[in-house]
Structures are given as structure tokens and as C-alpha cells.
């Protein structure tokens, strides 16, 4: 298929469901795009969900 023949698709795949993937997905969905959020784990959250608190605010990471 020639590049010119390919139609643009209004969907974006976000690979990785950590805090980065989640933020990207939310922004895209809020702006009118379909998002496929893909992760190898059974739930999203990535490494940040393992943290107790975050610096410098000492907020609970969950």
C-alpha cells in the first residue's frame, strides 16, 4: 500500500500503562482521539503504584 493511499486513523496506541502512559491516554482521549492503552501487567499503574510516597511533597503515591 502506497503511503499516499493510507488513510489517517484517529486512534493512537499508547504502550505502557504507567503514570506516563496514563497521562498521555487521558490527554488524547480528552482531545477527541481513541486510545488503545496496552500493558503487559493485569493492571495499570506501573512502577509508581509500588511507591509509598513521592518526593518532594510526600504525597501518597496511590
Amino acid at each position: 500500500m502506497k503511503k499516499e493511499d493510507m488513510k489517517k486513523v484517529g486512534a493512537i496506541a499508547v504502550i505502557g500503562g504507567g503514570v506516563g502512559g496514563m497521562q498521555a491516554s487521558l490527554d488524547l482521549a480528552d482531545s477527541g482521539f481513541k486510545v488503545y492503552l496496552i500493558d503487559t501487567k493485569p493492571s495499570i499503574g506501573g512502577m509508581m503504584s509500588q511507591l509509598d510516597k513521592t518526593f518532594p511533597t510526600n504525597d501518597c503515591a496511590m
Binding site: D59, C60, M62
Partner: protein, 118 residues
């Protein structure tokens, strides 16, 4: 959440933020025969609405000293900071509050007769 057990003597009123808690609500609860009132909000700096809990803190601390001045026993009205992820802490606080209120016995001071339920 994590199913830590605690005594069933606490009824819960849901509000969007602890800043929604009007001191008059607490008064009303006591008038209605509540033996104790517990207000729990997010830690300073963690408020979902930024500064709601800070305003609440000021208001409720003033209310606390005012209620004590009125003669309400110390320990009936309690405030606590809590994170929604701290199940165990909530249970600790709930148990401690129930215990300290239990020690004070049934509330008599601010109860209004016309509100008495059967």
C-alpha cells in the same frame, strides 16, 4: 477496603471535601444525640481541592475550643488527617474514637429533646 474490622458504632456522612463541613453540622449531630463526632480529611498538602482542608482545620479547631468552652466533654468531637489509601489508620482512628467516646458515656450536654428519636 482491606477489611480491617472495627466496631459498628460509626455512621458515615459523605462530603466532597472536609471543607464542606459546616461547624453547624457538628452541632446538629450532637443535638441529635450523637455521642461523638469524628471529622476526617486529607493531609495538608494533599487536598484534592488544594487548600480546602486547611480552611477546615482552622474552622474546626476553633469549633473544638468553643464546644469545650460550652461544656462539651473533651474527646467527643475529634478531627483526624487521613489518606484514602490508609485503611489501617482509619480503623485505628475509628477504634480510638469509639473507645474514648465510650468512656465518656452517652452524651447529655447538647442533646435537644425535641429531636429525640424513639
Amino acid at each position: 477496603m482491606s477489611r480491617f474490622q472495627y466496631p459498628p458504632n460509626i455512621e458515615i456522612v459523605r462530603v466532597p471535601c472536609v471543607s464542606r463541613v459546616n461547624p453547624l453540622f457538628i452541632l446538629r449531630s450532637l443535638q441529635h444525640g450523637a455521642d461523638g463526632v469524628l471529622v476526617a480529611g486529607c493531609y495538608p498538602g494533599e487536598c484534592n481541592y488544594s487548600t480546602g482542608n486547611l480552611y477546615a482545620r482552622r474552622k474546626l479547631l476553633m469549633l473544638k475550643s468553643y464546644l469545650e468552652y460550652l461544656g462539651l466533654e473533651k474527646g467527643r468531637f475529634q478531627c483526624a488527617w487521613l489518606s484514602s489509601a490508609e485503611a489501617e489508620r482509619f480503623v485505628k482512628i475509628a477504634k480510638a474514637t469509639i473507645e474514648s467516646v465510650r468512656k465518656l458515656g452517652p452524651a447529655k450536654k447538647l442533646v435537644r429533646n425535641k429531636f429525640n428519636r424513639d
